[in-house]
Symmetry: C2
Subunit: 341 residues, 2 copies
DNA sequence: CGTTTTTCCGTAAACGTTTACGAGAACACA
DNA sequence: TGTGTTCTCGTAAACGTTTACGGAAAAACG
């Protein structure tokens, strides 16, 4: 049933070596025989056994993307990543690589699963998302010398790996600028806990922009909570209880914004009327919420493509003529003005 | 660096055969030597090369879950599946199996990717979701005799594969019952197009319940659209233009409900006040939306665990003493009453 | 003590590829 | 014609495992 290279060879009365060379497009095979091999391969529905290839070549031809729910986050997930994955997979496929998403159990922050992938050599490289400020995954991978790239920056591992990130700092500043221009002075910031790197960047941008406008940074207007609806719901009332009530809130996460708006609604506060709401990472949620939420949108699919390219460029086997290169890029977020501010 | 079974053997001065047997827990190896092997394995940080194992055993020890955005659905994804995947991965890990999620490019409905997985033998079995009424993936897999299980039922492929589904028919009926009990007679149904199987089940339940209550089924109150926010947004006004305006809408999809509520808001119609809204599959969205949406909730994580178990039970290599069994189950959806109806 | 059974381990083949090496044939060139 | 080059292909080893087979040593048994 599963036809092997031997079947092809027997069928054509040539050696398996020639068949392999023909299939792999090597130069030292007659054009005529190559065609015959290709035809036979199609006819016998042949496709190479990956285990065999991997074993011989020491490469799996697949890239692992580590996807993991945050600890305790049983209910919701990562819609954010889907368009990103589409771009990723598209670009990888062009280079003959498979993308496999490996799920971690919630809570262990991927370390165990990551080790498993690396040690059993299930992938040729790994893609990490939601990098933390100090990231043990990055430490581990650099230590064992396993190729990887990250979506997001980190302090860990030096800069010896490709990374693509969004400019959360600028977005945080732009959000403040826009709100200040609209007359706001009391601006709250709500961000995820866990030491996610983008959350720090966002806060930096927020703080710097306030200072630029001569506005004092009030700790009572800054809060962090769990990175989902429940977290936003829980933490938003806290900033609303500040002595001098905020007239605007910037949420660093769409899910938290959703929960926060729920909390606001229960307090009788209407986004867009009684308070201005801005969200840093846009998803379709923001668009279809009532009122539609002003948000900063990342070009997710192009980001996926680009990160794939950057990863490939760093791998000796795929790098272009110039040899392997480590590329770092930071992309801007585009403001989508809607009704909530 | 990557230590092989040969390194272990050399280090212990025994043959690789013995090492392998010790590692795999076979009976014909001395308890003492086994311990020495295990210790050495830990010390040398050995873990078996998957390609080697797979090649020899003809099994990859991994299960593929096919995840694919619907054609044209660039923006949003499958948050629905995350808890499901957690359950799945947890149960598979207990049997030493890896779960890899394989992404398809949007649009080709997975056929090409599926073939690729099957033909290159990257997984031992496949898990399909969002089954269609007539499903070419199922036809293909049964035809080539590749093991699989499905989340959702289908007309294709006979019944020779395990399947776990939710009782959308009952949920559709229950939703109608509840609305009728609250005085509604004009009840609209909005569901995804594409011939997704659950969408038909839902509609069947809806229709039967209406008839049970002596209410005529009005085609003007039934609409289908694309399975995302945009689809709901686009199609909801259509049912609202029916001669005798509906006083309630049942959405068969949470994303469509979100889009639909946006459309309603633009028409000045408030869910929970001017119209009753019920959603068949609950997500955190429904809970945090304003107003919170009444919805039917599936136990996603247990479903994942259970489907993994059912798949394993159907595989000769993992089936229990009774031999392989094909199990079919249909689980109920639990109504979560909130504020929208 | 001799025979049979059990325990334990080494040998080697096999899984399906890729690829270094070498060799025969055809060709080019003087 | 002789020599060197090019084209094409077969041979066989190698990747890291698992496992059937057989055999030596130890244990059990009479």
């Amino acid at each position: 049933m599963a036809s092997s290279i031997h079947d092809l060879a027997r069928h054509l009365n040539i050696s398996i070596g020639t068949v392999s060379r023909a299939l792999n497009g090597r130069a030292d095979v007659n054009a005529d025989t190559r065609q015959r091999v290709l035809d036979a391969a199609k006819k016998l529905n042949y496709s190479p056994n990956q285990s065999g290839r991997s074993l011989r070549q020491g490469a799996t031809h697949s890239i692992a993307f580590m996807l993991q729910p945050h600890p305790g986050d049983q209910q919701y997930g990562e819609p954010f990543f889907i368009p990103f994955l589409i771009g990723l997979q598209g670009r990888l496929a062009e280079s003959g690589l498979d993308l496999t998403v490996v799920m971690g159990a919630p809570g262990d922050y991927q370390q165990e699963r990551l080790r498993r992938v690396v040690e059993t050599r299930r992938a040729d490289a790994v893609l990490l998302a939601w990098t933390r400020r100090e990231d043990e995954r990055i430490d581990y991978l650099t230590q064992v010398g396993f190729p990887f790239a990250t979506l997001g920056r980190s302090r860990s591992g030096g800069k010896a790996y490709p990374s693509l990130d969004l400019d959360f700092e600028k977005a945080g500043g732009d959000a403040v600028d826009r709100l200040v221009a609209r007359g706001h002075r009391r601006i709250a910031a709500i961000r995820p806990s866990l030491n996610l790197n983008f959350s720090y960047l966002f806060l930096d941008g927020y703080r710097k922009a306030l200072k630029r406008h001569g506005i004092e940074v009030d700790p009572a207007l800054i809060a962090d909570g769990f990175i989902n609806e429940a977290g936003g719901y829980q933490v938003t009332p806290r900033v609303m209880q500040a002595k001098d009530r905020p007239t605007a809130i910037i949420f660093n996460n769409d899910a938290m914004a959703l929960g926060g708006c729920k909390a606001l609604a229960e307090m009788g506060i209407r986004p867009g009327h009684d308070i201005a709401v801005t969200v840093i990472v846009d998803t379709p949620l923001c668009r279809y919420f009532s009122p539609a939420l002003t948000a900063f949108r990342p070009p997710l699919e192009p980001m996926g493509r680009r990160l794939a390219e950057m990863l490939l460029a760093s791998l000796p086997a795929f790098a272009g003529p110039g040899g392997p290169r480590i590329i770092h890029e930071v992309w801007p977020l585009e403001l989508i003005a809607r009704d909530s501010d």
